[in-house]
Amino acid sequence: MTLSSETREAIKEAANHAAAGKKSACIDALLLAQRERGWIDDETIAEIAALLDMTVEDVDGVATFYNLLCRRPVGRHVIRLCTSVSCWVMGYDLLLQHLRDRHGIKPGETTPDGRFTLLPNQCLGACDRAPVFMIDDDLHVDLTPEKVDAILEKYT
């Protein structure tokens, strides 16, 4: 699968704009590619490497380093459940249990209908409203198992 011409142009622009050579646009390029299809496959890594005059290994080294870059397929929506200390104290494990029992997904898994992927996430910086998760770009706070069901309804 190749990148759209739009994304290719955006990556080229980021590379030209970069202060010290194309390489410094590597993270931007990966984020742009991921925005297009949700995750980054091997072909995309090779394409970005060619665009930025980098080796495939160097690009993959960056892609596999960062938490928000996905190297495996994800569903239409990504649930990022905060698993850090305040959410742990406030009982995020109840939410994990609920997502497993009611929606059939454990961390790292995608629902069979391809709707949701559940990923653990580091502290989301909303500790006064714990437990919390993000779905795509939206933060949801003060979660309970009941609230989770109502929220998930909104993402089709």
Binding site: A18, A19, A20, K23, S24, A25, C26, I27, D28, L30, L31, G61, V62, F65, Y66, N67, L68, L69, R80, T83, S84, V85, S86, W88, V89, M90, N121, Q122, C123, L124, G125, A126, C127, D128, R129, A130, M134, D137, D138, L139
Partner: protein, 425 residues
């Protein structure tokens, strides 16, 4: 004059736009600094205000700036980088400033960049902070349109460009040299120091990295002076502090209070005290990488020196509460799991040590631990401590573990003795 300069005009639901912000006195500091002060005057003022960094390390901001090469012979471009990568577990204070008063952040960037004669400023923002990203970018556009950013700002001859860079996510990016590698598009591995970023930072050029809250104070220091700033604080270091409390208290939240407010006032008054039926057992004063304090420390002033004297660090000033119905071993296990995951993998003690500790803590919590495991934990607190690793990540991780082994040792021993977690039924 306000006693809550940072949050007086913070509005999380609908932050002030440039016009509204200007009406409440915003961008006055840009006018004052760029048209009546030399960069060196700003640095001196900041030094005299005795402000210390709010990102965790507490280094003197004025001193940090004074290491920047200045004048016509300094290498250019020079950079100011805002560390807005709020990833310390239990920390949620910079989000309030970024989302609630985006123009205050931009004004802070302009006057601070002017002080160090920076040509370009980057705001290194957590990828998860989507609302902040949108609001900062809007504020930057407005500032360009009004002539507060760009070429020859207010006819002063000073020019500055400002960009938001969203991170792809990794705790180590909070370490300033790792952050610079991330900005350069690389894996975020810390660099060896020296050279310090002031002499060789972003793309090898002079660079200053400061925390969001730290910088947001600078316009107010310029507007009201050092004496006013020093008086805001109950300690020898100036200013207010954004304190936060999370965990099982009645009203968790963030409050701007005088620097040096006691833990008791913050927890009992502002956070409403413990939830009914729960007792306070301990608290991490400033994020996951600070040592546990206990109810005996409630009257400690939450300032840099007093918290250090009590055996911990002020850190980010956002407390995490341990109550008497939460397992201390489980809590520490959660934090060590975080640090093990976030280790960049560069140096061996951190890469290999943290996952081992995570496994040991899991064994103890699940009732499979032995006396020997406790000794291994003790030893690793020393082996992963200050001076033993490449950067401060592993020593930070040892803070909650080492202090828990002291304050809650009986809880660890009970897990081993009873071969189960006493908090689970």
């Amino acid at each position: 004059m306000t006693e809550r300069p940072l949050t007086e005009h913070a509005r999380l639901d609908d932050p002030l736009d440039l016009r509204g912000y200007t009406q409440v006195g915003g961008y006055q500091a840009v006018r004052t600094a760029l048209t009546t002060m030399a960069p060196a005057d700003v640095v001196t003022l900041v030094k005299d205000s005795r402000i210390r960094g709010r990102g965790g390390a507490g280094f003197s901001t004025g001193l940090k700036w004074s290491f920047m090469p200045m004048g016509p012979d300094a290498p250019h471009p020079k950079y100011l980088v805002v560390n807005a990568d709020e990833m310390e577990p239990g920390t949620f204070k910079d989000r309030l400033l970024l989302e609630g008063t985006p123009h205050q952040m931009i004004e802070a960037v302009i006057v601070s960049a002017y002080a160090i004669e920076a040509d370009v400023a980057y705001i290194f923002l957590r990828g998860e902070y989507k609302v902040a990203e949108e609001r900062l970018n809007r504020a930057i556009r407005e500032a360009y349109d009004t002539g507060y950013l760009g070429k020859n700002i207010l006819g002063s001859g000073y020019s500055l460009d400002c960009y938001v860079h969203t991170s792809a996510g990794r705790y180590i990016c909070g370490e300033e040299t790792a952050l610079l590698n991330a900005l350069e598009g690389k894996r975020a591995i810390p660099r060896s120091k020296p050279p310090f970023p002031q002499t060789s930072g972003l793309w090898g050029k002079p660079t200053i990295v400061n925390n969001v809250e730290t910088l947001c104070n600078i316009p107010h220091i310029i507007n009201h002076g050092k004496d006013w700033f020093l008086k805001l604080s109950l300690t020898t270091s100036g200013g207010t502090k954004l304190y936060g409390v999370s965990g099982k208290v009645k009203t968790p939240g963030t409050w701007e209070l005088p620097m040096g407010t006691t833990a008791r006032e913050i927890i009992e008054q502002h956070a409403g005290g413990m939830q009914d039926g729960l007792r306070l057992r301990g608290f991490l004063p400033g994020g996951a990488s600070t040592d546990f304090l206990t109810p005996d420390h409630l009257d400690v002033m939450m300032g840099f020196d007093a918290v250090q004297a009590a055996g911990s660090r002020l850190g980010t000033g956002t407390m995490i509460i341990l109550d008497d119905k939460t397992c201390p071993v489980g809590m520490v296990r959660n934090m060590i799991a975080f640090f093990a995951h976030e280790s960049c993998g560069w140096c061996t003690p951190c890469r290999e040590g943290l996952p081992w500790l995570e496994k040991l803590l899991a064994a103890i919590e699940e009732g499979r631990g032995t006396e020997q495991d406790l000794h291994i934990l003790d030893e690793h607190v020393r082996l992963l401590g200050p001076g033993m690793t490449y950067c401060a990540l592993a020593p930070g991780a040892m803070a909650p573990l080492g202090s828990a082994l002291i304050h809650f040792r009986e809880d660890f021993e009970r897990h081993i003795r009873e071969k189960r977690c006493p908090w689970k039924h």
